[in-house]
C-alpha cells in the first residue's frame, strides 16, 4: 500500500517529528510509513488523514485503485 504522507508533509512544511507527535507515534514509524516498509493500521491511517484534513483514500493508495 502506497501513501502520500511524505508529499503532503513537505507540501505543508511539517517535519516527521511534528507529524509523529500529532498522531501519537514515534518518528521511526513515520519514516517506515513513508518508505512503504510498514502499513498503517486503520486507526493510524484515520489519525493521519484527519491531521491533514483529508480522507483515508486521499492519503493512502490501495492496491485495487492502482490497477
Amino acid at each position: 500500500m502506497e501513501n502520500r504522507i511524505a508529499a503532503l508533509r513537505k507540501e505543508r512544511r511539517i517535519s516527521q517529528a511534528e507529524l509523529a507527535d500529532a498522531v501519537d507515534v514515534t518518528r521511526q514509524t513515520i519514516i517506515s510509513l513513508e518508505s512503504g516498509r510498514y502499513n498503517a493500521s486503520l486507526l493510524l491511517a484515520h489519525r493521519i488523514a484527519a491531521y491533514f484534513g483529508l480522507t483515508i483514500e486521499d492519503v493512502f493508495l490501495f492496491e485495487e485503485e492502482r490497477t
Partner: protein
C-alpha cells in the same frame, strides 16, 4: 518486552498502575528468595550450584522489580516523560515488531527444544543446562528477530 505487550490498551494510566502491582509482586518474590537464601539454604544439603541460584535469582528479580517500580513511579508523576513513554510503549509499529519477534522466538524455541531433547537423551546433560539453554535460546532469538524486524519495518 512485557511492558510493551501490557501497554497496548487505550488507558495508559491503567497500564501504569498495573505495572506498579506487577513490580510489587516481583519485589515480594525477590524478597522471598532472599529470605530462603538467609533462612532455609544455610541449613540445607543443597550444593553450591543451587545455593548460587537462590542468591542470583533473588538479586535479579529484586533489582528488576525496583527498576520497574522506580520507572513507573517516575512516569506517573512526570507528565512530559509519561507522554514520551506512552508514545514509545503504544507505538503500533513497535508493538507489531515485539509481537512478531515473540511469535518467532516461540516457534524457534519449540524447534530447538525438540533438538535439545535428543541431546538430553543421548548425553547425560543435567536438566538445568537444558532449561538454561532454552531460556538463552528464547532471549537470543527474540532479540535477533526484534533487531531484524526493526530494520525491515
Amino acid at each position: 518486552m512485557l511492558s510493551k505487550m501490557m501497554s497496548g490498551g487505550a488507558d495508559y494510566d491503567k497500564s501504569l498502575r498495573l505495572r506498579l502491582w506487577i513490580g510489587a509482586a516481583l519485589l515480594l518474590i525477590g524478597l522471598v528468595g532472599f529470605a530462603c537464601w538467609f533462612l532455609v539454604v544455610p541449613g540445607s544439603a543443597l550444593d553450591d550450584h543451587a545455593r548460587g541460584f537462590y542468591l542470583g535469582a533473588a538479586t535479579g528479580v529484586t533489582l528488576g522489580a525496583v527498576i520497574l517500580l522506580a520507572r513507573t513511579g517516575w512516569l506517573l508523576t512526570h507528565p512530559d516523560a509519561r507522554k514520551k513513554a506512552q508514545i514509545e510503549d503504544t507505538d503500533e509499529r513497535e508493538l507489531h515488531i515485539t509481537h512478531t519477534a515473540a511469535q518467532f522466538a516461540g516457534l524457534f524455541t519449540f524447534f530447538v527444544t525438540v533438538a535439545l531433547l535428543f541431546c538430553a537423551v543421548a548425553a547425560p546433560l543435567p536438566a538445568f543446562k537444558v532449561l538454561f539453554g532454552l531460556m538463552l535460546c528464547y532471549g537470543f532469538s527474540f532479540g535477533a528477530a526484534r533487531m531484524y524486524l526493526s530494520k525491515k519495518l
